[in-house]
């Protein structure tokens, strides 16, 4: 096959005045603006573009479009680029994929010699023994992986996304699709028209000039004058629930690829038809092309596809291709008419070229075989909408059966007809789509309880009164009297499929899985029907009996970059964060929050708190503002302990359980006024506890009067801890008597702090020190923090971070929900049984906790390694002596700067929970160490004298 550039064609899309230079396999080439990579190379005489996956057979142009299985190339760092679709750009570095050492001398082509042993699924039947050699086999097999290369330095480029809420989306801008878009827009709908190719027009673009050219010009002009939004080089990749559409826009001026997410009220599916290859000996040889490919090459890019052609035609498009070839100066040596029962049997020649075509026993010398054997209906989007297309043997293709009412098909997918009939069907479809979209829009509006201006009744659901398109008779041409390739991208032949069916893989899905037919780059658009036909033939059944596979999204592949877009996973920082950053903070991620972990030396921070005073930013602490008369009832229901008698100004600790008795969250809640409480939760539990509270209030106790407002980020929270904390706080707080008698441990006050009114302050003791927790309006957080630092300079005030706080709480033996507890830890295991009031009428988890009272549960205990220098890993297992029997685990462990020894919390079996019990802890290193269970959770100040001071 020798291709070359023709004289200027009236329909061509190239601009011959702009030459683009590029490289192909390292050599210099040039093409014109408007060329695809493949058309430029074809015009330059290239006819081998790739090697097949398994046998490494040379492959040339087949369909000359996006779906061409032979035209996958590497462009720079972009693998698997569709050279039949991607427009040529100056400076492109294009290379063949899956070849070694080069496209023209490929060593793995030797596989072709042993193809009879490499039948489909051969690998399941060998390489079993010796088993230890399978990894070696596997490495060899992996070198056969097709496809391009990923450059490890590829950056994640900028990708945009867009949301859209059109009334009607039309997928496919052929004549029917354009008419549908125009008619829908004329009826008042907002319409988006999405075309996979680089320009609208569908088959009119490469059709013989008249009358197609006039029609195309007319449609383009009408589109330009309409309000239809036209997206070219864009594809509706998927139809999901309720017409949620994914649309990939490859033509965006800035983003490499852009994902558009559209909630279409009605989707019109008008992708046209895809020409199907025909199966015969040598059908994958360079020089064998589809009729559409021939017409596209000649009419769009002015490429002469060969010198001497045989045309195998079974339809008008094949006839048109023959005419185009003659007009382009290609000698048409023979026309084999499939409608007369004639068949092409073989394409012959040396590996890389076509020399002759055998049909009906006659051998005709030719360098080009153009095949028009029938069509595949790309029903993918209909499948995704739940439709099961039905095969019509008279028309030799599948047709839609019963898609949902908000999905309409038109164009070639729906039937055949003259151009004016297709256009009329499209226009009728567009009108119907607009009517139904109006009904859907009305329904959406009316479903909103407080819809503003829903006027009138819902428009009636318009009946489908479109005159159906006819179905032209077409011979069922799938396989000739010889065997050939069914799936060119997977190197699966009709022989493979017949053998698979005979072996028992005789349903389409089984055969597909066994042979990998339809699993390649075109995902069955070229291969599915021939696959089904081969299986039907092997089983002696019809195509309708065998059925087809389910097409899955996406319709066209799209890059991970486009799908990912920009990552919208924001981080949260407190209003005090700038101070932390300016003061050498090391941060830690805790859920969404970026928090101070420490400022260089957490042990020093701990010592400073224990001797002087420290301040910590605890803003992420979950905070819920509760108002209403029924709050005590709510607290009684959610916490395990009792809340009815909490006086104004008092704070209490509480533990929440799920209904299965497992610890859910904990925190303190304070009563700020008669009907005003502030509840705190763990930082990670803040969102969940809020939903939990709302769930109880709205579903189980809707008559209770409690109003809940999340105020986590409305307040900046600062804990002031240490023996000098009262002195420090007294310097910044006005109007509150801070003496231990007037403001005792577990009390709350409203205060003005550093001139900021409306702050809450409570005395609690997570660190075990005298401490005041300040909750100040968030905007003033930084100011109050700085005021504390300044006011306490002479007291030795210093910041401390999460690590210091963790050390101190561990010294005090306070457990952390989710660290010292797990998904099965029942409340009594925390050692907090006195806080579980089983005599309450009801609370979340009550029945399970009542029953658990009789059960032997693991317990959280304080543990000290016998060697004070050894800090076990958090997760180190507690085992029985020298055995591997697990009796518990260390859940928290730190070196205590205060005690100068390792301190731990752990969960142990109940028989080991008594103070003084000797344990064996298995370290990650494998060493077993001795440890002792302590009498109290608190390693430090068990009487709690410091925090009550």
């Amino acid at each position: 096959m020798t291709m070359s550039r023709l004289e200027v064609q009236p329909t061509e899309v190239i601009d011959r005045s702009t030459t683009l230079r590029f490289r192909w396999n390292g050599k210099r080439f040039s093409g014109f603006e408007g060329d695809t990579i493949a058309s430029a190379l074809a015009a330059a005489g290239e006819h081998v573009f790739s090697r097949s996956m398994k046998y490494h057979r040379p492959r040339g142009i087949l369909t000359a479009d996006y779906w061409d299985p032979n035209l996958l190339v590497q462009v720079g760092d972009d693998p698997n680029v569709r050279a039949g679709h991607r427009l040529l750009e100056a400076g492109m570095d294009v290379g063949a994929q899956n070849v070694w050492p080069s496209l023209h001398r490929d060593i793995k082509a030797a596989n072709g010699l042993v193809s009879r042993f490499l039948t489909a699924g051969f690998y399941y039947k060998t390489f079993m023994r010796p088993q230890r050699l399978w990894p070696a086999y596997e490495r060899v097999l992996a070198t056969f992986a097709p496809g391009g290369k990923v450059d490890p330095d590829t950056p994640h480029r900028y990708h945009d996304k867009r949301y859209s809420h059109p009334d009607v989306v039309v997928a496919g801008a052929g004549p029917a699709g354009i008419e549908a878009a125009l008619a829908a827009a004329a009826a008042g709908a907002r319409v988006m028209l999405v075309e996979h190719e680089h320009a609208v027009g569908g088959h009119l673009r490469y059709a013989h000039p008249e009358p197609a050219r006039a029609a195309l010009a007319e449609l383009r002009a009408a589109l330009a004058a309409s309000d239809v939004e036209v997206l070219t080089d864009s594809t509706v990749t998927g139809r999901y629930e309720d017409n949620w559409l994914g649309i990939v826009q490859r033509s965006h001026p800035v983003a490499v690829e852009r994902l558009i997410k559209a909630r279409a009220k009605v989707l019109v599916v008008a992708p046209g038809l895809i020409e199907r290859p025909y199966v015969f000996a040598g059908n994958d040889r360079p020089g064998v092309i589809t009729s559409v490919a021939a017409r596209r090459l000649i009419n769009l890019w002015g490429v002469k596809p060969g010198e001497r052609a045989v045309v195998f035609t079974a339809n008008a498009d094949g006839d048109a291709a023959a005419a185009d070839l003659e007009r382009a100066g290609v000698e048409v040596a023979a026309v084999v008419d499939g409608r007369d029962g004639r068949r092409v049997s073989a394409a012959q020649g040396p590996p890389k070229a076509l020399e002759a075509v055998v049909a009906g026993g006659t051998r005709t010398e030719a360098d080009l075989l153009v095949v028009a054997a029938g069509w595949t209906a790309p029903t993918s989007l209909l499948n995704m909408a739940g439709d099961r297309p039905v095969y019509d043997p008279a028309a030799a293709r599948f047709f839609p059966s019963d898609p949902p009412g908000n999905v309409l098909a038109t164009g070639g997918l729906a039937g055949d007809g003259r151009l004016d009939e297709l256009r009329a069907h499209g226009a009728a479809t567009g009108r119907l789509a607009a009517q139904r979209a109006a009904a859907v829009a009305h329904r959406y509006q009316a479903r909103t309880a407080r819809a503003l201006a829903v006027t009138g009744d819902e428009p009636a659901w318009a009946a489908d009164e479109r005159a159906p398109l006819r179905r032209d008779r077409h011979p069922e041409l799938y396989r000739s009297d010889t065997h050939g390739m069914v799936d060119l991208s997977e190197d699966v032949g009709s022989k493979d499929l017949v053998a698979a069916a005979r072996e028992g893989y005789d349903s389409v899905e089984l055969a597909k899985r066994y042979t990998t037919a339809t699993m390649g780059s075109a995902q069955g658009k070229l291969e599915t029907v021939n696959t089904v036909a081969a299986i039907a033939e092997a089983r002696g059944e019809t195509i309708a009996q065998v059925g087809t596979t389910v097409w899955r999204p996406p319709y066209a592949p799209l890059t991970l970059g486009a799908l990912a877009g920009r990552m919208f996973e924001p981080v949260r920082v407190s209003s005090i964060h700038p101070w932390h950053e300016a003061n050498g903070v090391r941060t830690i991620q805790a859920g969404q929050w970026i928090r101070p972990d420490h400022y260089g030396d957490p042990a020093a921070e701990v010592r400073n708190v224990r001797t002087n005073v420290g301040i910590i930013d605890v803003t992420p602490l979950g905070k819920l503002d509760l108002r209403g008369p029924d709050i005590p009832k709510l607290l009684n229901l959610l916490y395990t302990n009792k809340w009815s008698k909490l006086a104004v100004g008092k704070v209490r600790y509480g533990m929440m359980c799920a209904e299965d008795g497992v610890v859910l969250d904990d925190g303190v809640t304070g009563r700020l006024g008669p009907e005003h409480y502030l509840m705190t939760t763990t930082s990670s539990g803040a969102a969940g506890v809020w939903e939990w509270v709302e769930n109880w209030l709205q579903t189980e106790r809707p008559d209770w009067r409690v109003h809940v407002t999340p105020v986590t980020t409305a307040y900046a929270s600062i804990n002031v801890a240490g023996p000098k904390s009262r002195e420090l706080v007294s310097r910044v707080v006005d109007g509150v008597d801070l003496s231990p008698e007037a403001f005792a441990y577990m009390e709350v006050r409203t205060a003005t702090v550093a001139g900021v009114a409306g702050c809450f302050m409570w005395r609690i003791g997570f660190t075990g020190e005298l401490s005041f927790e300040l909750h100040v309006p968030a905007g003033h957080g930084l100011h109050v923090w700085e005021a504390l630092m300044e006011a306490g300079a002479d007291l030795g005030v210093g910041p401390f971070g999460l690590e210091g706080q963790r050390i101190m709480r561990l010294e005090k033996g306070h457990f952390i929900v989710g660290q010292d507890t797990d998904g099965l830890t029942l409340a009594p295991s925390t050692g907090m049984s006195p806080l579980i009031k089983l005599d309450k009428e009801d609370f979340a988890g009550l029945p399970e906790l009542a029953w658990a009272a009789d059960r032997q549960l693991p317990l959280i205990v304080a543990i000290q390694p016998d060697d004070p220098e050894i800090v076990p890993e958090e997760a180190a297992q507690i085992v029985r002596g020298d055995t591997n029997e697990i009796l518990g685990r260390i859940t928290s462990a730190r070196m205590s700067p205060t005690l100068g020894r390792a301190v731990c919390l752990g969960q142990v079996e109940p028989e080991l929970a008594a103070g003084g019990t000797k344990l064996t802890v298995l370290l990650a290193s494998g060493q077993r160490i001795g440890a002792t269970v302590m009498d109290h959770h608190a390693h430090f100040d068990p009487a709690g004298e410091r925090l009550r001071g």
Binding site: T448, A449, E691, N695, E841
Partner: protein, 90 residues
């Protein structure tokens, strides 16, 4: 992306809501047997068809509400009117 008909906010993408699962009545904790209580905790009808279920409109009205959905087709039935008692079994 399911379009969930929130009774207050109208149709919303399911990503805006939290799925609460099959509605089931909470037994009286005072009288429930262990089997009844654990049935409430763990056992589900899980039908392939119409299911009464709860949703929480976390990015909208912040209301928990009950809907009926066909789990085979994901089609919703018109929601109960606002003000109905939520969360109890029909």
């Amino acid at each position: 992306m399911l379009l969930v008909p929130c009774p207050n906010c109208g149709p919303r993408n399911s990503a805006d809501l939290r799925y609460g699962g099959e509605s089931h009545a909470r037994p009286d904790p005072a009288t429930a047997s262990p089997l009844q209580w654990r049935g409430y905790l763990y056992l589900r009808d899980n039908p392939a068809g119409w299911l009464r279920e709860t949703w929480y409109c976390r990015s909208g009205c912040r209301r928990w509400f009950t809907l009926e959905r066909n789990t085979a087709t994901n089609e919703f039935r018109d929601p109960p009117q606002p003000g109905d008692k939520r969360g109890s079994k029909a």
